[in-house]
């Protein structure tokens, strides 16, 4: 493994750093400052530059606790966009480097505990996770330092003022030997040399280093060495410690070139950012992160070559059934395909990438006075929701999200890219609106959106002395409400010694405060209120409820069940409250559908249970207990909504799709995905021929 050749410049000012960047240097290096603080100078320079790598060549580890050094390194790496390399010098640098690595390894679970001879870290929390894997440089020309570098360092740095060519050759030999002893590939370790100006290309080649830091009063142009740079080696480099974490059965070295730069393997730093989803922990063997439709095509070709492995498709990772991550399999993550653009303002036509989150969509189209009802949570992704349904805050007024789908671009199992709309590939257009995950990867969605002004948003806490009665009354109030009103009701199990209550939320799609109050009145009147809060807000104010930044760190295996129901009858309500009282579920949530959702004929989309007025969901943690309790409710339901279901058994597929719908889906599955590439999430079996 050879490293691409790099050049750096030693600088002591922003002016010098900017000059180096202009000249095309790869690295900006700050020397150990005899007076003044090198870390501070490096950070200051980071804030004034944009591209080049950053390193303080003589950072003295005595400056603070090693764990603090690690935090500082993570921060500078994050702030500078992943440009930091960390050169450590000073006493007991071996222990310091261990601690720094331990703190930066934020993907590891549990705090760092390190008991060295000179440094002790009782239990430091790890993190923050840097932007990239920060290479650690060590130095020192004595045998001990060289061996340490060979065993552990990502790079070894020496100063040609201090070491001569002969000594250098000996040093490299020692490093190599130590590396081999530690079962490392010696060529993993970068050799870095601080040099003066005036050396020619041949001199540099003879020195056998891969990174040269030039120390000169005036930073020389790189032209003299340009010939060396063209011979640069492969850009992607994974040390053996990273490759050691690879999972079996994956052709890692065969990842298509277009995807190799963004792919994430278990040992990579970014793995912590992509392994899990919102609800679940995962441990995929490889995450491919295409940025374009063409790259999705490449990704699917790679997936097709691994028929034995689980294959998870992910947009924004909020799927409940947890199929957008897995253990040891492949994941194709569309997070980077998150653009939102207006296609035609006069027709209110927008085009959205699958990786966009619904709150970003809402914020992007709000300036036009538009909205598009999605769900109740802004962090949910476009890809998962808009291929399944979309029961949102404006559902009764405007229907499901899929009811506003105008066209979709889809990469099919065989890699062909097709467009589906009311006039093109109409079968596929029908299927993708409710069963999309079985038919391909949707790479863009075109929606026809609608005007949404300010809305009323009510959050009420209601007494639930007789919870079954409350359910019935709420259901009736909703059914009698104008379509402006959509919402949900949430109840937890009764707690001893505490009054029972329900949380009721409602959105009134109307910007007249009096009308809002008038429409909320019948709902608010069904039970005494413990708390009430009603605001007039743009729709973005209702949906912008997810945090920015961060990454999913879900864990566990939540169990949820879904049912669609026409009316909340007293019989259903009693059975539902028995289930809640049993403690088998953590909560019970009912969302409103009906209204405009029911205007669409059941045969028009693969989402077919249009007559339901309510979507019921429970969540628990024991599959057995949830199943047993849920069985008692089954008779009341007419179908289910896949997005809220975690049980992947075939019986659920039959509940999700009525017989005629399912028959047509099976035919289409046979046509579009005969080899069942898209099988991981609620698999529809192809019709037999």
């Amino acid at each position: 493994m050879t490293h691409p050749l790099r050049f750096g410049a030693l600088v002591t000012s922003v002016a010098g750093a900017r000059r180096a960047e202009e000249l095309g240097y790869d690295l900006i290096a700050v020397p150990a400052a005899p007076d003044g603080d090198d870390w501070t100078l490096l950070t200051w320079i980071a804030g004034h530059t944009a591209k080049a790598g950053l390193v303080a060549t003589g950072l003295d580890v005595a400056r603070g606790e090693p764990a603090m050094l690690a935090r500082a390194a993570a921060s500078l790496d994050l702030l500078s966009g992943g440009r930091l390399e960390l050169a450590l010098t000073g006493a007991h640098v071996d222990e310091v480097a261990d601690i720094v690595r331990g703190v930066l390894d934020a993907g590891e679970t549990g705090p760092l505990r390190y008991l060295g001879e000179h440094h002790r870290v009782p239990k430091a929390q790890r993190g923050p996770l840097p932007a990239h894997r920060i290479p650690i440089w060590l130095s020192g020309n004595d045998q001990r330092s060289l061996r340490l570098a060979g065993r552990t360092a990502d790079a070894w740095v020496a100063d040609l003022d201090v070491i001569d060519a002969g000594e250098l050759a000996t040093a490299y030999k020692l490093i190599d030997a130590a590396a081999i002893e530690a079962e490392r590939d010696p060529s993993e370790i970068r050799r870095i040399l601080i040099i003066g100006p005036g050396l020619g290309p041949d001199d540099l080649t003879a020195l056998g280093a891969d990174t040269f830091l030039v120390r000169a009063d005036e930073i020389p142009e790189l032209t003299a060495w340009e010939t060396l740079r063209d011979a640069a080696g492969p850009p992607i480099f994974r040390p053996s410690s990273v490759r050691a974490k690879r999972r079996p059965g994956i052709d890692y070295d065969g990842v298509p070139a277009s995807l190799a730069g963004t792919a994430v393997e278990p040992g990579d730093l970014d793995y912590a950012r992509v392994r899990s989803t919102y609800m679940r922990g995962g441990a995929p063997g490889l995450v491919l992160r295409p940025r374009t439709t063409a790259e999705v095509v490449n990704a699917l070709a790679f997936v097709r070559r691994h028929p034995e492995l689980p294959f998870g498709l992910r947009s924004a990772g909020h799927g409940m059934s947890g199929r957008s991550t897995n253990d040891g399999g492949l994941v194709v993550s569309l997070a980077a395909m998150n653009t939102i653009e207006v296609l035609d303002e006069s027709r209110r036509l927008i085009k959205v990438g699958p990786g966009a989150r619904w709150m970003d969509v809402a914020q992007a189209i709000a300036p036009y006075g538009w909205g598009l009802s999605s769900g109740d949570y802004g962090g949910v992704g476009v890809g998962g929701l808009a291929t399944a349904g979309g029961v949102g805050w404006l559902a009764r007024k405007h229907g499901l999200t899929i009811d506003h789908l105008h066209a979709a671009e889809i990469v099919l199992a065989d890699g062909s890219v097709v467009r589906a709309s009311a006039t093109e590939n109409t079968d596929l257009f029908w299927a993708v609106r409710g069963a999309g995950a079985n038919f391909g990867v949707v790479t863009s969605f075109e929606f026809e959106v609608y005007d949404v002004g300010n809305v009323g948003f009510a959050q009420l806490v209601m007494a639930a002395d007789d919870p079954a009665e409350l359910l019935v009354k709420w259901g009736r109030a909703i059914e009698e409400s104008p379509r402006d009103v959509s919402g949900q009701l949430l109840m937890g199990p009764p707690r001893p010694g505490q009054p029972a209550f329900a949380q009721v939320m409602a959105v009134v799609d109307n910007d007249d405060p009096e009308t809002i109050v008038e429409q909320l009145q019948p709902i608010a009147a069904i039970a005494p209120l413990y708390q009430q809060n009603v605001v007039l807000t743009p729709y973005t104010g209702v949906i912008s409820n997810a945090a920015d930044g961060g990454y999913h760190q879900g864990a566990g295996e939540p169990i949820s069940r879904s049912g669609l129901i026409e009316h909340l009858t007293p019989e259903f309500a009693r059975a539902a409250m028995n289930l809640l009282a049993s403690g088998a579920v953590h909560w019970f949530q009912i969302r409103t559908v009906g209204g405009a959702v029911a205007d669409v004929a059941p045969s028009e989309t693969a989402y077919a249970h249009r007559s339901a007025n309510f979507s019921v969901i429970v969540m628990g943690s024991s599959q057995r207990r949830v199943d047993a309790g849920w069985a008692a409710l089954a008779e009341h339901f007419d179908g289910l909504y896949l997005s809220f279901e975690t049980d992947l058994s075939p019986a659920r597929i039959e509940e999700a799709f009525p017989p005629a719908t399912l028959a047509r889906l099976r035919e289409l599955k046979h046509r579009y995905d005969p080899d069942n590439l898209f099988r991981d999430n609620f698999n529809i079996k192809a019709a037999k021929r």
Binding site: A33, P34, D35, G36, D37, W39, T40, L41, T43, W44, I45, A46, G47, H48, R63, G64, E65, P66, A67, M68, R71, A72, A74, S75, L76, L78, L79, S80, I99, V103, A106, P111, H119, R120, V121, P122, K123, A124, Q125, R126, G127, P128, A131, A547, D548, G549, G550
Partner: protein, 298 residues
């Protein structure tokens, strides 16, 4: 009524959150553009959800042009006095004098210990802070001949090279509430920096804070006016006055001017991560307080 006559400062107290990565820097830029005097950041290095505060300050300094920056306050047990002195002096020189040193004796000792530092009792922490201030000032005293030597109980510095000196006469502001620490401030620091939310009796508690500092300053032969009185504040801008610092900007201005005239508080640092609150504080509150105070002082 005690007013020490300091020029008024208005600042922002920004959460150094590491997610989103640039949020804290962007808020400092907002404060800079809005015309505030100070952008300050808390320091809890045991919490990885935050940036390293010093790195954040150095980076934010590079992204701003006018505003002064400081820790609010930096955790001494996890930061060495000599490094604090050098790094602050360096950044002060790089920024042309925009850096102040906010220092605290340490809170949340479980976290501090977990990172590998030594746990101190409250009394020990005060003594350690006193020693640290000596080290810092000695390092900054670059003109003086000979190296720095401090034989303290907590910090031993032997033959350390002096300098660099900060570009301006840098202040050491100390976060404090209790008598021992306040007395130390009276003797050795340039400012006291408590948070309103920790004053159990509300802003009126500042009278006691002043009493301790003033007495100790006089005992040490200093003018109490050498110690600036700062305050982290939190509040809500709302249409109608509801309570202290919950109301329209004019109400805020009157209440803060009252604190200046009553307790001599001359720096108000708003704890907020809301750009519009920071802007309103800068545009509506700060000039109004200055006007009210100037009128009274005249």
């Amino acid at each position: 009524m005690t007013d020490y006559g300091h020029e008024l400062l208005f600042g922002a107290f920004i959460t150094p959150t590491a997610q989103p990565v640039h949020q804290a820097v962007e808020l400092a830029v907002v404060a800079d553009r809005a015309g505030l005097d100070l952008a300050t950041f808390q320091d809890h290095p045991y919490l990885p959800r935050f940036h390293d505060t010093w790195t954040l300050i150095s980076y934010a300094a590079a992204r701003t042009s006018r505003i002064r920056l400081s820790g609010n306050v930096l955790s001494l047990p996890l930061r060495q006095p000599a490094v604090l002195a050098r790094s602050h002096a360096s950044l002060d020189r790089l920024t042309g004098g925009r850096i102040e040193l906010g220092l605290g004796a340490g809170a949340f000792w479980d976290g501090i210990e977990a990172m590998g530092a030594r746990r101190l009792s409250p009394g020990q922490a005060v003594s350690a802070l006193g020693e640290a201030i000596r080290v810092i000032r000695a390092v900054w005293d670059a003109e003086r001949a000979g190296p720095v030597t401090v034989h303290g109980e907590y910090y031993q510095v032997e033959g350390l090279k002096r300098g660099p000196a900060p570009a301006h006469d840098m202040s050491i502001w100390v976060g404090a509430y209790k008598p021992r620490m306040l007395r130390l401030i009276g003797r050795a620091a340039d400012g006291v920096l408590p948070s309103l939310s920790y004053l159990e009796g509300g802003p009126g508690d500042y009278a006691t804070i002043n009493q301790h500092i003033d007495d100790s300053a006089r005992e040490a032969g200093r003018d109490p006016g050498q110690v600036r009185r700062l305050l982290n504040i939190n509040g809500t801008f709302s249409e109608f006055g509801r309570s202290f610092l919950n109301g329209p900007a004019e109400q805020w201005a009157e209440e803060l001017a009252g604190l200046t005239l009553e307790h001599g508080i001359s720096a108000f640092i708003l704890a907020s991560d809301d750009p519009s609150a920071i802007e309103e504080f800068a545009a509506e509150v700060a000039p109004a307080v200055r006007e009210l105070v100037a009128a009274e002082r005249a």
